[in-house]
C-alpha cells in the first residue's frame, strides 16, 4: 500500500484537509499536495492506462516529465483533458477522472491489445492497415479512432477567461532553484532589471529535498532568506507557477502563469500568458531523472528515485513499506536514506556499477541497507501493482539470483539536463561522456540581434550536478559588475559521473527487452526501437516518427535519451553521431485558452464599422464579414427569408429606388506631378489622359499578370486622382502603391493617402435616383450636366458631397461621398427624402445579383489569382499602346497567351434552375486518377429575381467561340445541370436604363 506517513511533509499543511474526487470516489488530501501525492496517500497507485496496449499505469515522476498520471480535470465548462496529476495542485472539491480505459480503470477491455502486443510492433498501423485501401476509411480508421485518444474533449465552451501581458527586463532567469536564485541575485546586484520565473508554487527546486543544509544553514531557511532579499528589491520580479516555455528570436520569451488553476472560479483569469522581451536569458531549469530499462519497468509502483524522495520528503507519502532501489549512480542512495529516515524499509539497493564507494553509498551501508553492486533487475513482478523484483547480474542475461518482495521500485538511470530552452532558438548541445547526457555547448549558444550569446545556462541544466560547485561558480560572480552574469555558462565539473546503463541486464534477451518501456505514454519499448533499426531506420528523426518515441504529451522528457542510446547501440554508432531530435517550444503543453487570451467572442478580431453601421443594426440588417468590415447582406423584414429579402431589394431597386452603404469601398488619393504616369504603370489602361471631372474603370494586375483589383478612377484636378478599390482590397492596394513608389520609382513625385474611412459613400440606384437628388437639392445632377462616368463636387440637402455618376447595377445610379462624420445624417436624409419615391436599403447580395445580371465581374468571384483580364474578355480595358504596365510581361507568357485558356461566358440553364456554386463543366473521359475531365467552372451563379430564372457566369475552354452550345455542370449529388452558353449580359444589353 501507498499511504500518508504520520509525520513530516515539508510542503503540506495537515491542518488544511481537502476533499477531492477521483473516478467518483471521495478522497482526502492536504493543502500543499499535488494531485499525484494525494492519490498516492489514498493508496491510488493505478492512475491511468497506456495509449496502445492499455497497460495499467501508475505515477512515475513528480513533475512535468510525468508520462502516465494524466487525468481529465474538472467537469462541464471547466473540463480539461490530459492534465498531469504531478503538476496539478490539490484544491478542495477537485474532481478528476482517469483516461484511456473502458469500461473502468480497474477493468479495461482494451487491455487485450496488451496480450496481442507481440503482434503489434513498431509501425504496426502503417504495415497492417494499408490494404485494401477502401477499408482504411470505412473500417480501420473509425475503430482505431474510437480506441485511440487520451482524455475527453470538453463539449462546452470554456467558462474561464485568460489574459496576456507584456514584460521587459535585462535578465530573465527561468527556474527558481538554488542556481536560478543565485543567478537572479548576481544580476540584481549588478543593477540589472531581473525577472525570475518558477514553474511550481515554491522556490528552491530539488535542493530542499536532496540536501540537509547550505553552509550549515537549513536549506529551507537559506531559500527563505534569499527569496525575501530578492522580493525586497525594486529591480527584481519573481513569478511562481509560471513556466517559461519557449525562447524565440532576439530575447523573446513566452511564459504561462497558472494564476487560478488551483482556485477555479474565483474570478481571476485562469492563466496569464507573458510575452517577455529580455536582453539576456539565464536558464536554470535543472535536470530530469531518467528511468532504467528493465523488464516490467512500467508496472505501477515503479517510480523515479527522485520522485519517491519528493513524495516522502515533501508530502510525507510512502510509496509502500518496502522499496527496492535500482540505480547506476549515487543520487538514488539519497532516496534509500530518505525512506529509511521515514521509517520505511529498503530491502536492497541494486547498483549496476561494479563498485560504489562514494559518500552516499557509504552512508547507506552505515545505515544498514543492503547494497548489491554489479546487480540489476531481471524482472519486476506484479500486474496492477509491484509485488517484488527478480535480481540478476547486470553483466549477464537475466538469470535470476534471488527474488525480493517489495511494493515499490525506485529507479535512477542518471540525469538529463533540461536543455530545451537553450536549444529552442538555435543553441547546440554536445554529448558529455562523463554524465552520459547532452549538455549545452557554451561555444554555440543562440545569439541575439548583435550576435552576442542570448542564453546562458547555470546549475544542473548545464550538467553541473553538485550543489557545492553550483554555489562556488555562482557566488563568485555575485556583486561583481565587471563579470556580467549572463556571460557565464556553467560546465560540468567532473565531480559527478554517471556510467551508461541503457539496458538492464546488458545482455537481456528479447523476452525481457519487449517488456522494457522507453516511452510509457505511447508504449514504445526497447524492442520496438531495435526493430526499427533492423528495418533500416537510421535517422533519429525518422525512428522517432516510426516508433512514436517521444511523441507523447511529455515529448520525451523522461526517456528520449534512453531511446537514442538504444538506437545508437543497434546502429553500432556512438550516441553523438546519432544525434538528438530537435527541441521545440513549448516545453510543457500550453492550453489554447492562454494562447488566445482575450481574443475570443466579439473581440476575436477588430470590427470595422461604417458611419451607418448603427442604422443597419437598428434596421435588422443581416451582416456578412467583408475583410474586417461587417456589411449588411440584406435587410430582411418580418416573416421574410434572406432570399426573399434579397429578391425584394433587387426588384425595388430596378423598379423604384435602392440605397446602398458603399462606404467600405476603397478610396485612395494619388497626387503629384507624376501621378498620371504612376497610374499608367499600375493600371492596365491609360489614366494619364483622363480629363478632369471624368471617371474611368481600371484593372490592376500583379507582376505575373493576374488580375488583382478593379475599380473606378476619377480625376479630381490636374495632379489628383481618386482611385476606388474593392472593399477588401483597400489596404492591400495602398501598400502595393507604396511599395512601387518607395522601392522602384522613388524619384517619381507622387503622394498617396488611403482615405477610405474619411468618407461615407452611398449608392443611390434606380429609376428614381435623380428625383431623390433633386429633392435633396443643391447641385445640378441632370443628364446634360452630369452625364455617365463623370463626377462633380457640390452640396446635396446641405451636405458637402462629391457625386460620381457610375453604376454597378445597370440602373441610373449616383455614388455620393460625404465626410464620414456626416455619413449617418446623410443616409437618413436620403431615406427621408426617398420615402415617397419608394426608397429601400439594399445589401451586398442584392448588389451581387444586380451586377451579375449585367455581366459585371467581381474580384474574388470571377478571379482567384490565376485569371488574367484577357480571360474575362476585358481586353478593352488593356492599353495596347503603353510600353509597360505591371503585369504586361507576365501576361505575355505562352501559357497565359494560349488560345486554349478558359474564358468568361454566360450560361442559361435549360430548366431555369441556378447552377450550384463551385460546379465544374465536365468534359469527355477521365484523367489519370479516374476523375472526370473538366473544361471549365462556374464563377458566379444566382437566381435572378428580375428574369425569374437562374443566371450564371463561368470560365469555359474556348468559351466565346461556343455560343449556343449546351454544356453540363456537375453537382455534389453526382447529378448534372445542362446549360446553354451565351454572352454575359443578361439584362438591358444596350444600357438603356443607366443612360437616362
Amino acid at each position: 500500500m501507498s499511504t500518508r506517513l504520520a509525520k513530516g511533509g515539508r510542503l503540506i499543511d495537515r491542518t488544511a484537509a481537502m476533499d477531492f474526487h477521483f473516478n467518483g470516489k471521495v478522497m482526502r488530501g492536504f493543502a500543499g499536495d499535488t494531485l499525484a501525492a494525494a492519490l498516492l496517500a489514498n493508496d491510488q497507485m493505478l492512475m491511468g492506462r497506456s495509449f496502445k496496449y492499455h497497460r495499467p499505469r501508475g505515477v512515475v515522476g513528480s513533475g512535468p516529465e510525468e508520462p502516465n498520471a494524466l487525468v481529465n480535470l474538472g467537469r462541464g465548462a471547466r473540463l480539461e483533458p490530459n492534465q498531469r496529476a504531478t503538476t496539478t495542485e490539490l484544491f478542495d472539491g477537485l474532481e478528476a477522472t482517469s483516461q484511456n480505459h473502458w469500461p473502468s480503470l480497474e477493468f479495461d477491455v482494451g487491455v487485450v491489445n496488451n496480450y496481442a502486443a507481440r503482434f503489434m510492433p513498431a509501425g504496426f498501423y502503417y504495415k497492417t492497415f494499408i490494404h485494401p485501401r477502401p477499408f482504411w476509411k470505412h473500417v480501420f480508421e473509425p475503430v482505431i479512432r474510437r480506441a485511440a485518444g487520451l482524455g475527453k474533449a470538453p463539449t462546452e465552451g470554456d467558462a474561464d477567461r485568460y489574459e496576456q501581458a507584456y514584460a521587459f527586463c535585462d535578465v530573465l532567469v527561468v527556474g527558481g532553484g538554488v542556481a536560478g536564485l543565485l543567478a537572479a541575485k548576481a544580476a540584481a546586484d549588478a543593477g540589472q532589471r531581473v525577472i525570475l520565473l518558477e514553474q511550481t508554487a515554491t522556490l528552491g527546486g530539488r535542493t530542499p529535498v536532496d540536501e540537509a543544509d547550505i553552509d550549515g544553514t537549513p536549506v529551507d531557511t537559506w531559500i527563505a532568506a534569499i527569496e525575501s532579499d530578492l522580493r525586497a528589491r525594486d529591480n527584481v520580479t519573481i513569478r511562481t507557477r509560471t513556466c517559461g516555455f519557449g525562447v524565440y528570436d532576439h530575447g523573446y520569451v513566452l511564459a504561462d502563469e497558472r494564476v487560478a488553476d488551483h482556485t477555479p472560479g474565483d474570478g481571476r483569469p485562469k492563466h496569464r500568458l507573458w510575452r517577455i522581451r529580455t536582453a539576456k536569458i539565464v536558464t536554470a531549469t535543472g535536470a530530469i531523472e531518467r528511468p532504467l530499462s528493465f523488464a516490467g519497468n512500467d508496472i505501477p509502483g515503479v517510480m523515479l528515485a527522485s520522485a519517491v524522495r519528493d513524495y516522502v520528503v515533501n508530502h510525507a507519502v510512502s510509496p509502500g513499506d518496502r522499496t527496492v532501489i535500482a540505480t547506476n549512480n549515487d543520487s538514488a542512495y539519497q532516496t534509500a536514506l530518505a525512506l529509511k529516515a521515514a521509517g520505511l524499509e529498503v530491502p536492497a539497493i541494486l547498483d549496476a556499477r561494479d563498485t560504489a564507494t562514494g559518500a552516499l553509498p557509504e552512508a547507506a551501508r552505515a545505515a544498514g541497507i543492503r547494497v548489491l553492486t554489479g546487480r540489476g533487475i531481471a524482472k519486476v513482478k506484479g500486474g496492477k501493482r509491484v509485488t517484488g523484483v527478480a535480481v540478476c547480474t547486470q553483466a549477464g542475461e537475466g538469470a535470476v539470483l534471488e527474488e525480493i518482495t517489495c511494493e515499490a521500485v525506485a529507479m535512477s538511470g542518471g540525469w538529463s539536463p533540461v536543455v530545451h530552452l537553450f536549444s529552442h532558438c538555435g543553441g547546440k548541445v554536445k554529448w558529455d561522456d562523463n554524465l552520459s547526457a547532452f549538455i549545452p555547448d557554451a561555444s554555440r549558444p543562440p545569439v541575439n540581434h548583435d550576435g552576442s550569446p542570448m542564453v546562458s545556462v547555470v546549475g544542473a541544466a548545464a550538467g553541473c550536478l553538485s550543489l557545492a560547485n553550483i554555489l562556488a561558480g555562482l557566488r563568485d560572480v555575485s556583486g561583481k559588475t565587471a563579470i556580467r552574469l549572463p556571460d557565464v555558462c556553467q560546465t560540468p565539473d567532473g565531480s559527478v559521473s554517471i556510467p551508461p546503463v541503457w539496458v538492464m541486464p546488458q545482455g537481456a534477451p528479447i523476452q525481457l527487452r519487449s517488456k522494457m518501456w522507453l516511452d510509457y505514454q505511447n508504449d514504445v519499448k526497447v524492442s520496438d526501437v531495435q526493430l526499427a533499426s533492423r528495418e533500416g531506420y537510421q535517422s533519429v528523426e525518422h525512428t522517432k516518427r516510426y516508433t512514436t518515441l517521444g511523441m507523447a504529451t511529455d515529448q520525451g522528457k523522461l526517456s528520449n535519451i534512453n531511446g537514442l542510446a538504444v538506437l545508437a547501440d543497434s546502429l553500432n554508432e556512438p550516441i553523438p553521431q546519432v544525434g538528438t531530435t530537435t527541441f521545440r517550444p513549448p516545453y510543457t503543453p500550453v492550453t489554447i485558452g492562454a494562447l488566445a487570451g482575450e481574443s475570443r467572442g466579439e473581440i476575436f478580431q477588430p470590427l470595422r464599422r461604417t458611419p451607418m453601421h448603427e442604422w443597419h443594426e437598428k434596421s435588422g440588417a443581416y451582416f456578412e464579414p467583408v475583410g474586417l468590415w461587417h456589411r449588411p447582406y440584406c435587410f430582411p423584414r418580418a416573416g421574410e427569408t434572406h432570399e426573399q429579402a434579397v429578391h425584394r431589394e433587387v426588384l425595388n431597386t430596378r423598379e423604384k429606388l435602392g440605397l446602398l452603404d458603399a462606404s467600405t469601398l476603397g478610396k485612395i488619393i494619388v497626387k503629384g506631378p507624376d501621378a498620371g504616369r504612376f497610374l499608367d504603370m499600375l493600371y492596365t489602361g491609360v489614366m494619364s489622359t483622363l480629363p478632369i471631372g471624368k471617371c474611368r474603370y481600371g484593372l490592376m494586375c500583379n507582376e505575373q499578370g493576374f488580375l488583382s483589383d478593379d475599380g473606378v478612377v476619377a480625376r479630381l484636378d490636374e495632379e489628383t486622382f481618386l482611385c476606388h478599390t474593392t472593399s477588401g482590397g483597400a489596404d492591400r492596394i495602398h501598400a502595393w502603391m507604396e511599395d512601387w513608389l518607395q522601392c522602384e520609382w522613388w524619384d517619381w513625385k507622387v503622394y498617396t493617402a488611403n482615405v477610405t474611412e474619411q468618407y461615407a459613400q452611398i449608392a443611390v440606384v434606380g429609376p428614381n435616383a435623380r428625383k431623390l437628388l433633386e429633392t435633396l437639392g443643391g447641385m445640378d445632377v441632370s443628364k446634360e450636366t452630369l452625364p455617365f462616368m463623370q463626377s462633380a463636387d457640390g452640396t446635396l440637402g446641405g451636405f458637402p458631397a462629391r457625386v460620381y455618376r457610375i453604376s454597378f447595377s445597370g440602373e441610373l445610379s449616383y455614388e455620393i461621398a460625404v465626410p464620414a462624420s456626416q455619413g449617418a445624417a446623410f443616409w437618413e436624409a436620403c431615406h427621408k427624402a426617398g420615402a415617397s419615391l419608394g426608397a429601400m436599403p439594399y445589401g451586398t447580395e442584392a448588389l451581387h445579383v444586380m451586377r451579375a445580371e449585367k455581366g459585371f465581374i467581381m474580384i474574388g468571384d470571377e478571379t482567384d489569382g490565376t485569371v488574367i483580364p484577357q480571360d474575362l474578355n476585358l481586353d478593352w480595358a488593356i492599353s495596347k499602346k503603353k510600353a509597360d504596365y505591371l503585369g504586361k510581361r507576365g501576361q505575355a507568357r505562352t501559357f497565359l497567351a494560349s488560345p486554349d485558356r478558359w474564358k468568361l461566358v454566360g450560361f442559361d440553364t435549360l430548366d431555369g434552375s441556378a447552377i450550384p456554386d463551385g460546379a465544374y463543366i465536365v468534359a469527355d473521359g477521365t484523367n489519370g486518377n479516374g476523375q472526370r475531365n473538366v473544361q471549365g467552372r462556374v464563377t458566379s451563379t444566382y437566381h435572378s429575381p428580375t428574369l425569374k430564372r437562374g443566371i450564371a457566369m463561368g470560365l469555359l475552354k474556348h468559351g466565346p467561340q461556343r455560343m449556343g452550345e449546351v454544356v453540363e455542370f456537375n453537382t455534389i449529388q453526382g447529378e448534372t445541370v445542362k446549360a446553354r452558353v451565351r454572352d454575359t449580359v443578361f439584362f438591358d444589353k444596350d444600357g438603356e436604363k443607366q443612360n437616362v
Partner: protein, 107 residues
C-alpha cells in the same frame, strides 16, 4: 520574434509592427525581358541559410519600406538601411565581411 530598427524613424520595431517583403535588391524586368530574365525576376530566389538581404515595411509605424541584412541561421542582424539604394551600404558590407569571413557577397 525579430527586432529590426527602422532606419527612417529610428524605432526598434517588433516583428508584429512590420510586414515582410522578401528578397531585396531584385532588378525588375518588364515587357522586353527574355523568358529567362523574367523567370529569374519572378521566381528565382536565393533563400540562403546565412547572410540575406530582405525588404521590410514598417507597416504599423511610419509606413516606410526599408532593407535589412541579417543571418537567417543565427538571426544576427547586420544592419538596416533605406530602400532607396541600388546596393547595400559599404559599412554593412564591411560588417558582414568581418562577422562572416566566408561570405561570398550579396549578388
Amino acid at each position: 520574434m525579430l527586432i529590426l530598427t527602422c532606419p527612417y524613424c529610428g524605432i526598434k520595431a517588433d516583428e508584429t509592427e512590420l510586414s515582410p517583403g522578401y528578397e531585396a535588391h531584385l532588378k525588375r524586368f518588364g515587357p522586353d525581358a527574355s523568358p529567362e530574365e523574367f523567370e529569374a525576376y519572378m521566381f528565382a530566389r536565393k533563400n540562403p541559410k546565412g547572410v540575406h538581404f530582405e525588404r521590410w515595411r514598417h507597416a504599423y509605424g511610419c509606413g516606410k519600406w526599408f532593407l535589412a541584412a541579417r543571418c537567417t541561421a543565427t538571426l544576427e542582424v547586420f544592419g538596416t538601411y533605406p530602400a532607396q539604394v541600388g546596393e547595400p551600404p559599404a559599412d554593412i558590407i564591411d560588417k558582414i565581411k568581418a562577422r562572416r569571413p566566408d561570405w561570398k557577397g550579396y549578388k
